[in-house]
Subunit: 215 residues, 4 copies
Amino acid sequence: MIVDRQAHGGHPHPPMLERLVFFSDAVFAIAITLLVIEIGAPHLPHGAGDIAHLQQLAQRIPNFIGFFVSFWVIAAFWGGHHSAFGLAGHYAPGLIGPNLAMLCAVAFMPFATAYMSENYGARVPAVLYNSVLLVTALLNLRLVRKVTAPPYLADGADSFQVATCRGRPWGVVVGATLALIVSFIAPFFAQMTLATIPLWIAIAVRRTTRGVPRP
Amino acid sequence: MIVDRQAHGGHPHPPMLERLVFFSDAVFAIAITLLVIEIGAPHLPHGAGDIAHLQQLAQRIPNFIGFFVSFWVIAAFWGGHHSAFGLAGHYAPGLIGPNLAMLCAVAFMPFATAYMSENYGARVPAVLYNSVLLVTALLNLRLVRKVTAPPYLADGADSFQVATCRGRPWGVVVGATLALIVSFIAPFFAQMTLATIPLWIAIAVRRTTRGVPRP
Amino acid sequence: MIVDRQAHGGHPHPPMLERLVFFSDAVFAIAITLLVIEIGAPHLPHGAGDIAHLQQLAQRIPNFIGFFVSFWVIAAFWGGHHSAFGLAGHYAPGLIGPNLAMLCAVAFMPFATAYMSENYGARVPAVLYNSVLLVTALLNLRLVRKVTAPPYLADGADSFQVATCRGRPWGVVVGATLALIVSFIAPFFAQMTLATIPLWIAIAVRRTTRGVPRP
Amino acid sequence: MIVDRQAHGGHPHPPMLERLVFFSDAVFAIAITLLVIEIGAPHLPHGAGDIAHLQQLAQRIPNFIGFFVSFWVIAAFWGGHHSAFGLAGHYAPGLIGPNLAMLCAVAFMPFATAYMSENYGARVPAVLYNSVLLVTALLNLRLVRKVTAPPYLADGADSFQVATCRGRPWGVVVGATLALIVSFIAPFFAQMTLATIPLWIAIAVRRTTRGVPRP
């Protein structure tokens, strides 16, 4: 009993581009959800009071911050991937390598997050975290620029959307570079530097969309 | 060798809304399955008797309850997401933020579950768990209301289904609020309060669907 | 910038049945892959000889067997889900509950596997494992019978395929029942009883397909 | 409220081949992302200096190498699966068994990676890792050859692409065999042997595509 699957005008099935995106989504989703596993729930003796519990939670504040920062960092990479591939209309095997390279860096984030959170304020973990982040940002920049240009770009894609999409990765690169510099000098404040990323994204997008007509 | 992927009447491929839903499903599925990892299988010396094993399992009863309660809580959020996005027919980037915020709270549930289960009956873990649940319920309420209203709502969506969908999140908000109050006063009974959620959902749905013609 | 997603003849998008199946697949995939995490890699002192390493691996033989048995058990449930939903052509919310119930049992399998493997030969872990398996098999039976009958069954579905699909779950129920009985009497041999499942499936399918014309 | 899902010219929905691929992608994605979980973040006393941190990281160099090697090995299997199923146009249940067998070996890779990394240079872990790799490569070879031949191959699939696809798995088989031999003799150098895989793939593809007209 053979079922014919060649619907969709003779295109191979499942479509290659969709599967690439699907696999990437699964890796993003797992990396983003594994972050919480690394925290480790405190287990106190039976009858421990509220103060003892609050102290345990207070000790884990860096872990909670680490979870939230990395959740939004990975979420931002996912968002960029989502918009960039939304503008793609063609597939070629040349996308696989750059996409996997970026996913490899993303898959490493839970380790960098756990190490930085467990040793908050120390220089080496902060440098490692922000180096991983910078590498991810650069691999993301390469991927987004590749996928939003010919031959991958969909015919008739809106040029304003394309320019926006191509600007955003620069903002993450700038923010990660700054955080890396700060983590050498004042590791305790490195993670706060990441809060400036939206600002760099706004500036970068303003530059790449300058003169591009809005849709 | 470039493969053209622009089928489906010129829409970008893969479709943006489908990918958003897909990514959310993966996060829900991972969070719901990671719950069991936190229990930790007992390892007894070789030759340990049935009684010793049953005692070990009995000690883990709060963990088992925690697993089942959180499984159904996350499953209920997934079910609501499933029906709400089933009514959506349009996509805009404005959905991404509220959706990620809700997923962030869901991704934190395995930690809250493990902490509450490992210290069953203590006030702080119960308060933390039910606070996380209430935050998730509120973020879910915001998302569901957004996605089942213009400009996202599909043209010609059935108004009874829409009203049902928009009523359900209120039930979870009420249940989580009650459980949070109980967890301050009598933490041991807080989780049982969650069993009243179906009742609040039924009342909330009755209110939002009042006067709406059934399909 | 709103993108219209109402392709596919006015059907909601993403399709409800596809998303239900997708979410289930993710839960199956995570449960099946988490099994290996529970084994725990041995770490020997630097310079430890081959004999020491082989002894450590030998101690983990029950874990390896546990991994393989549970991998194929979950894979078999996935296979049945795959064929049953392949015959479905219609969606209604009534599928969500029975599907989630089955997934809840599947998500618990990694714990049951780890506990049974870590204490191989003990009665309580074997009884627990095979009870979880029997519950999963019964929930699977209910789900498969529901989805391969009206109103869910696709119009014009082949009756031989339907009969095959509806027969298979009975084989797992019989095998799990036998393994549960054996695990009370001779827990060491309970897992081997599971090897008879293909036989019960063959008998069950023969019964349900009797008299049904082959396609 | 029953929603009819029989779009796509009467084909069952969700499509069987797409779901098989989807489930496989999820298993690949989880296995590839779980690799990092096994590393384990170092936790140093508060105030530990940079040297102490760098020493801890230096001790984990085998774990980092293990993560990267296994990431790319699993990514390569995914890439081969992606191109092979991209050439498939028909579905039959006979694909399920060989596909699950390959996934079972992939799901075991995180254990083999962790064991090899934690005991880098020891013979038994290196032999185990490369045996698992060879088994995976052989199961992958069987699957790819099956799916790129009738009755699964899409009608009108390009013969050069088919020949390329069928050649690649041989390269991994040769590389894994060499690494297995080296791991018996000089386990420390076994993982470096894997770096020769691209060479064997190039040779294998040259052989299988010889005389096949380029598209």
